[in-house]
């Protein structure tokens, strides 16, 4: 019991070390280069281009889901693609986050009347940050990553507070 309190899942040492790891994680968010539609031009290509340079935030694209931390779902997901998107998400190692970029990934966007289109990617994936717009500007994915960093850094503190409350 005493050892558990020191090294167990919700122990102080565990949470403190998690906090350190999360700080490191939040500064090297590698995203999966998977753009399905229009938003990929703005959210992936221009965002990693010279003006909205993402590399300075430690955000860099990876072609393989095995090396990625964040999945940016940029574009419409239809029923044929949904299976692929879910498979890609399952292939990513933990911990992993999802950014729903653009109106189509949030709700189905201008195509939501069409029965083949998924009404938002949160029907198949747990989404962390939603970015509205059709398409959003590259600045908004910058903002989304700042929000995601806050969320990741605050994760350990939340657990610490939960631990204090439970005592």
């Amino acid at each position: 019991m005493a050892i558990d309190k020191l090294t167990g899942e919700n122990s102080l040492a565990f949470i403190k070390s998690e906090q350190l790891f999360d700080y490191a994680r939040s500064n090297s968010l590698w995203y999966l280069a998977f753009g399905s539609a229009c938003c990929a031009i703005e959210g992936l290509m221009h965002a990693s281009g010279p003006r909205f340079d993402f590399d300075r935030m430690g955000v860099f694209f990876r072609a393989s889901p095995r090396q990625a931390d964040v999945m940016i779902v940029a574009g419409t997901v239809n029923l044929k693609l949904a299976e692929t998107v879910r498979t890609l998400y399952d292939q990513m190692p933990e911990p992993k986050w999802v950014v729903a970029f653009g109106a189509c990934a949030n709700t189905g966007g201008p195509f939501r009347e069409y029965p083949n289109v998924l009404l938002g990617v949160d029907k198949i994936l747990p989404v962390d940050v939603y970015v509205p717009g059709c398409p959003p500007r590259p600045e908004s994915i910058h903002f989304a990553f700042r929000e995601l960093q806050k969320k990741i850094r605050g994760r350990a503190e939340e657990r610490l507070e939960a631990r204090r409350d439970s005592r």
Partner: protein, 402 residues
């Protein structure tokens, strides 16, 4: 600079000179004979895509490999099917441009232009001269922006990472200009039946001209950096030869057709908007390999710059839109209008029944025809060349799947 590989001619469709006869490949063609089992080992099936950086979107290729060589290819599309044609049946005629924007999302103005031309043909609306010139100006700016995306990603496919960054740098300036004109960075929704949404902003002419001056220098730099690179030339020359017969049989249009030596261009052969009043050349290639497709597109960018200068210099005065009713109600009928988009002929076939929405809209997308070509052209190439080949055709999955 590189050797002059293409000739600019004023020839029309089907010129007999320089025709490539199958069976006698021109010099420098590197291609493995089709259907020859060279290794005698078990063939490997590789699923390329829908998540693959070289497929430029959500294209799925099922590739059968014999060692490193491609034996058969099966193209699977439909990962981005979102019913643009069906949704158009419930949209008003001035709202169709919004859907067309999201069809071919890199050359946006051309889709809007095709819809506007079709509705104008049906309703017999006379477009004011200034509206036609503004449309043509934005269309050529969009063509530059679209070709820059192709240029950057083609560089990535052949292993030149720097090209992408340079192309994006120039595209940002272009998008700034287009944003000032239309109000959006990407989905402009600027061209409407009867004209355009708003007049050109004050002082945009000098901005466009100064962009032209700098980009002219940058374009030569790009061409020297990528096209003058010996490694790049070795990778693209003689790869993916599309003969004139194949190009015609598969219905290719645009730069892919012109690279095969057929000088068909909607801008010249079925002129619309301000193109009859402009001076420009149609670059055509010789044998239709990847290098020809590269040089034709680079030359097209130079011609676009030439056109933009003419358009800014000779911009007429007058209203920017014709007097059109708030709710468009074209008479019952059928019409086909096409424009030369960055990828080829983009056509709109409209059927109307006298109501406020179309009865049926068909969207002719040039990339769909190019996609069908892959099953014919990829077998016989090395797998590494196949990735590069996909880039050289400049396909856009948004307009393939619609």
């Amino acid at each position: 600079m590189t050797e002059p590989h293409f000739t600019v001619t004023e020839s029309g469709l089907m010129t007999p000179e320089g025709m490539y006869i199958p069976g006698e490949p021109p010099k420098g063609i590197r291609r493995i004979p089709k259907g020859v089992d060279r290794l005698g080992t078990e063939h490997l099936i590789v699923n390329m895509g829908p998540q693959h950086p070289s497929t430029h979107g959500v294209l799925h290729l099922i590739v059968e490999l014999d060692g490193e060589e491609v034996v058969t290819v099966e193209v699977s599309i439909g990962f981005l099917h979102r019913g643009i044609e069906k949704l158009a049946e419930s949209r008003r005629f001035d709202h169709l441009g919004t859907l067309m924007d999201r069809g071919d999302y890199v050359s946006v103005i051309h889709g809007e232009q095709a819809v506007a031309l079709a509705v104008e043909k049906l309703m017999e609306i006379e477009v004011p001269a200034k509206a036609a010139w503004i449309r043509t100006l934005t269309a050529e700016l969009t063509r530059l922006a679209s070709h820059l995306v192709w240029f950057g990603t083609f560089g990535l496919d052949t292993g030149a990472m720097g090209q992408f960054l340079y192309a994006m740098r120039d595209r940002e300036v272009l998008l700034d200009i287009l944003e000032e004109i239309s109000g959006q960075r990407m989905m402009f929704n600027y061209v409407r039946p009867g004209g355009v949404v708003a007049d050109l902003p004050t002082g945009i002419e000098s901005r466009i001209l100064s962009f032209c001056d700098t980009f002219e220098v940058y374009l030569e730099e790009h061409d020297a950096l990528l096209g003058g690179n010996e490694i790049f030339q070795a990778r693209v020359k003689g790869i993916g030869v599309v003969s004139k017969e194949t190009a015609l049989a598969f219905g290719l249009t645009g730069a892919n057709l012109r690279a095969s030596g057929l000088g068909f261009d909607v801008r010249r052969d079925r002129p619309y908007d301000a193109y009859p009043e402009l001076e420009f050349d149609i670059p055509i290639g010789t044998i239709g390999d990847s290098w020809d497709r590269y040089t034709v597109r680079m030359e097209e960018m130079r011609q676009s710059l030439r056109m933009i200068r003419q358009l800014v210099g000779g911009m007429p005065g007058g209203p920017f839109t014709a007097k059109v009713p708030k709710v468009l109600r074209p008479p019952a009928g059928e019409v086909y209008a096409s424009v030369e988009s960055s990828r080829g002929e983009t056509g709109i076939h409209l059927f109307t029944d006298g109501g406020t929405t179309p009865y049926r809209m068909h969207y002719r997308a040039a990339s769909l025809f190019t996609c069908q070509l892959f099953e014919e052209i990829l077998p016989g190439h090395l797998f590494a060349d196949a990735c590069m080949l996909l880039g050289s055709f400049d396909i856009m999955l948004g307009e393939v799947d619609r």
